[in-house]
Amino acid sequence: MKNTLFLAVVACMLLTSCEDVLVKTLELEDFEFEKQLAISGALISTDDEFALLISQNQAITDPFDQWEPAVEATAVLYSGDTEIGRPVLSENNPEGLNNLFLLDLENIELEPGNYRLEVDHPTLGTAVAESEIPEDIQIDNIEFVEDFGIAPNFLSRSDAILVTFTDPPEDNYYSLKIESDSIISDTFFYGMDTLVYEYEPFLGVDSGEPGAQMIQDGILFTDDFFNGQEHMITLYLAGLEFEEAPEKIIESLHVTWDVISRDKFEFDSSLQLYDNSQGFGPFTEPVTIFNNIEGGVGIFSGLNRSFYPIP
């Protein structure tokens, strides 16, 4: 009896286990998801047009082919309490992206100060965001130094551009980029044939600036380490050695200097972390994308931009 019982228990267990494999899947119903306006746009002091994306968020489980504008939305931009204008949906924009809401700023001077954006939608409600265009902070000096030293991340000897400025005493946020205009090159001098072509060089900008975050062609940083002081930033041109015409590239370079709102800094930082973490899956801490839209999701920000040539 005992042996029979024993064998019966073993047999039942083995048979039951054979019905399953080690990994089972289970479909879940869609979880609670709130439809909201999705807004993104930045007021740039030098631009003659304010481009605003107004759409809506989509459940992660919804099929996604391409984004759609919230065509029924209306938007109003205020400077302080004064209405500046109403961005209008441009479904066909020959000079840029389609389906953005555009506001012509050719006759409007975007002064430093506070701005407010209000977006209304008949079903998605009202979304409001506030930001600022910071005061301009001039660069005092820009210097190009050949073979300056070892780029800290690329670990190669590199040329560098030294940018000096004086940080005002309040909290400030910056973006500094070295960008290049397109270069037209004749390969007669540099290659085996005489093809003439236009290209954007790979600069490989690098920096050891404490607390700075590397972004494409530059860095994003705060004044935490030098608040209210004169400060010099070193940007290494670490990728230049791989290019075929470094002197031409250097001629094409300019500094793009943005004094950015805190919202812009927080958003760009989180977006950069998000981009960097893609692909690591469960091995990476998830990144919270910064949001300053009340009643919606996204970012409305401002920045004071200047361009400087490389001497």
């Binding site: 267990m13 399953d20 289970l26 999705a38």
Partner: protein, 799 residues
């Protein structure tokens, strides 16, 4: 200032308390041991019935009780043992060694003595001892008896997830548990990515978990202290036990070296899936023109010897080593050329302790320990390519290895001083030298083409080794102020010193027990703790290469304080009931910053962020300790949150293991002397996980102008709750006493009703048929489970 005042108050109470015992007194002291094996019995109860005074034995079995001159009747009792009552006329100091008989030798069904230390008698709260005999009967995954998983069935203690052996105690993380094996810290308690713990139950004598109300002798971790003591080895006769299971086998041998003076125990365990699968893997590789091997195994080896030098001196030497190894090594050959790929992944602990007990007087006992512990993780990726092309030799050899770990040397001196039955004073100190290896890479390469001179690279890079000194000193007294009021008060002082930074901390500890009418104990406790070593892991997945790292100038030590209050009572039917509520706050918790991962090459200090945590809740524990049916019910209602300045917009969010409800039912039924039945059922609120619930388009800029990209967003971290977790495990032991040995067949099932418990979630695209007959794609959220019903059979023997 508060701490000196507290010490002054304690000292005053100590003096006043002793004055009341100023008549002539004598001391009875000795060791309490198992009659069969002479193993020391830890926390055995000693009670004098006339004076109603008592004490308990320490972890070496030593006890001391000082009583007035008179006839005394001492009762000695211990969990799972027959009590012994000895009457003597006390007119001088007496040395009295006591040997208790295990009930197992008398009657199989009796697990716990009825007159062991009662829960309401202790000032200590938030501490649970689970008899190892009970742990061995609890159903286990694949039949592998697992101490850590048994502890997960206690209130206030949670598992991380399906099959995982990590302990989450009162909202803390696994690194906040101080796991001591014979007093030596064990840094990695897991085998096989956490599915099994490193502790071999056959080599263990005693398991004790303290999750709050810490006495001053404990320190160094925020959430719990888990003390595991190895057996000493039978001093009377040679014995052995073993098991043959589905994934591993184990064997333990113990016996006297010199009868009644010295003994040993050796216990080993090894998995053998690598050995069993080797022929299949070799054949499979050979079929593809390759040769080599792929496999995984782990092993443990525990050993201990002890020697009684004299009645006043004992020496213990114990060691543990255990490793996990995963390896791939195969070679492809074609036309005389060979291509070999090697991958190795290994991690393991080595701990050892040399301890010397000395009895200075019949009231003063000391233990001096010298300990060593080492945890190392290493991996190797390599390839070798050798070819002859157009008569010329071409070689490409490449390997990269990575090592990280922690190594400690420590010395510890503890004293137990028992001046009167109303006082149990402990004091002592520890000094520990840590060496942290946060990760070093070694890259080797040799390239030789067209028969030329080889180009070689051999370079080492990584993070610098960090040396640190940690020390602590403590004093505590467990004293009875009145017959109903008992207090354990003390102070723990600790420090941590690096090359360029030092930290110190004063941590007051207090536990109070007031007996209420009806023998209900009201208990309350307060304790602060500090932790200087940090475990850097990611909340999503714990891996053996997660690192133990030091407090530094930049990374501050973790602190916590915890207050608890509760009731405890032993009911007539042998049921113990306790209800406790607790509140805990934690500071400087360490975590990977958003977006950071192990794969980042930045210095580790730049990858982490520090924040705060809080947890609170209530725990109900009803335990039946004797009779044919034993077991417990544990229920926890809890909340646990985290906040980091640079995570989740600086807002509080639920800890991943925030578990509103956690219920465990454990039942062991002795059907007869030949059949035991055991079952456990667990239920837990699902883990909080971060899951993007929506995606949005964003207008972005690069050097070419504007563009739109989409990002997946979530409103807050850990915004999504996995489904609730529940599972039934069952086990039946068939026991037969043979002529020379006892054999036990264990048949069990893990997850008996094959509940699809959540392991992880993933978005996937499924093909669906549209209404018009075309095939479309649908995005669905899928929940993956890990274990369906897993049957197990194992064979155990004891001789």
């Amino acid at each position: 200032m508060k701490t000196p005042r507290l010490l002054l108050l304690l000292g005053l109470m100590f003096i006043l308390n002793n004055l009341s015992y100023s008549q002539e007194t004598f001391t009875i002291s000795g060791y309490i041991e198992d009659a069969g094996s002479s193993e020391a019995l830890i926390s055995a109860n000693v009670f004098e019935s006339n004076s109603k005074l008592g004490t308990v034995s320490n972890i070496y079995g030593f006890y001391s009780i000082t009583l007035p001159q008179d006839s005394v009747y001492l009762s000695f009792s211990y969990i799972g043992y027959e009590s012994d009552i000895i009457g003597i006329y006390l007119d001088k100091d007496v040395t009295l060694d006591v040997k208790l008989n295990s009930t197992a030798t008398l009657r199989q069904v009796e697990i716990v003595a009825t007159n062991a230390v009662k829960i309401e008698e202790e000032s200590q709260m938030s501490r649970i001892e689970v008899p190892i005999a009970q742990i061995k009967k609890i159903p286990a995954l694949l039949g592998e008896v697992d101490v850590m998983k048994a502890l997960q069935l206690l209130p206030g203690v949670q598992s991380g997830g399906e099959g995982q052996s990590g302990l989450y105690v009162r909202g803390g993380s696994p690194d906040q548990n101080l796991i001591l094996l014979d007093g030596v810290p064990v840094y990695n308690a897991n085998h096989l990515f956490g599915f099994f713990s490193v502790f071999n139950a056959d080599a263990i004598k005693d398991v004790k978990l303290t999750k709050g109300g810490y006495p001053a002798r404990y320190g160094g971790r925020l959430s719990s202290v888990l003390e595991i003591n190895m057996k000493e080895g039978n001093k009377q006769e040679f014995h052995g036990s073993g098991a043959i299971g589905i994934i591993s086998s184990k064997l333990s041998l113990e016996g006297p070296i010199i009868k009644d003076k010295a003994s040993f125990i050796v216990s080993g365990r090894r998995t053998y899936i690598d050995v069993l699968a080797r022929p299949i893997i070799k054949a499979s590789l050979a079929a593809n023109g390759s040769e080599g091997n792929i496999g995984y195994f782990f092993y443990d080896l525990n050993a201990k010897v002890n020697y009684k030098i004299s009645d006043k001196d004992k020496l213990y030497l114990s060691a543990y080593t255990g490793d996990d190894k995963f390896f791939v090594d195969f070679t492809e050959s074609f036309e005389g050329n060979t291509d070999r790929v090697v991958t190795e992944l290994g991690w393991g602990n080595f701990t050892s302790a040399l301890r010397w007990n000395h009895l200075w007087t019949n009231k003063l006992f000391s233990n001096l320990s010298a300990t060593y512990t080492n945890y190392n993780f290493g991996t190797l990726l390599g390839s070798e390519f050798n070819a002859t092309i157009d008569g010329m030799q071409e070689t490409e050899n490449f390997s990269v290895s990575y090592d990280s770990g922690i190594r400690d040397y420590a010395a510890r001196l503890d004293f137990d001083y028992l001046p009167s039955p109303n006082h149990f004073v402990r004091f002592g100190g520890l000094i520990m030298q840590h060496r942290f290896n946060p990760g070093i890479f070694n890259l080797q390469s040799e390239l030789s083409v067209f028969g030329g001179e080889p180009i070689t690279i051999d370079t080492t890079f990584g993070q610098v080794l960090v040396d640190a000194i940690e020390f602590n000193t403590f004093i505590e007294d467990d004293f009875k102020i009145t017959p109903t009021l008992k207090v354990n008060a003390g102070v723990h002082f600790s420090g941590f010193s690096l090359e360029d930074q030092s930290y110190t901390s004063v941590q007051p500890r207090l536990s109070v027990r007031q007996l209420l009418p009806g023998n209900v104990a009201l208990k309350a406790s307060f304790a602060t703790m500090r932790q200087y070593t940090q475990f850097l892991t990611n909340e999503n997945i714990g891996l053996p290469w997660d690192q133990w790292l030091p407090t530094t100038k930049q990374v501050k030590p973790q602190d916590s304080w915890q207050a608890a209050i509760g009731f405890a009572k032993t009911l007539d039917e042998g049921y113990e009931v306790s209800l406790e509520a607790y509140y805990k706050e934690m500071d400087n918790l360490i975590s990977y910053a958003e977006g950071a991962s192990f794969f980042s090459i930045e210095p580790w200090e730049n990858l982490v962020t520090q924040g705060e945590g809080r947890s609170y809740g209530a725990e109900l524990f009803i335990q039946k300790k004797n009779g044919r049916f034993t077991g417990w019910l544990g229920y926890t209602l809890s909340w646990s949150d985290r906040r980091f300045d640079d995570k989740n917009f600086g807002e509080w969010y639920s800890f991943k293991f925030d578990r509103r409800h956690d219920l465990s039912l454990v039942g062991i039924y002795e059907l007869s002397e030949k059949i035991n039945f055991a079952a456990t059922w667990v239920y837990g609120t699902g883990n909080a996980v971060t899951f993007a619930e929506s995606r949005i388009p964003l207008l972005r800029q690069n050097g070419f102008g504007d563009y739109v990209s989409t990002v997946d967003i979530f409103k807050s971290r850990n915004n999504f709750r996995q489904e609730a977790f529940h599972r039934l495990d069952v086990n039946v032991d068939f026991i037969k006493q043979k002529k020379r040995h006892k054999r036990i067949w264990s048949v069990g099932a893990y997850n008996a009703y094959s509940r699809k418990n959540p392991f992880f979630l993933q978005l996937e695209e499924d093909f669906v048929e549209n209404g018009d007959g075309t095939i479309g794609v649908e995005t669905v959220l899928k929940q993956y489970s890990l274990f369906p019903i897993i049957p197990s059979v194992s064979y155990r023997f004891e001789f």
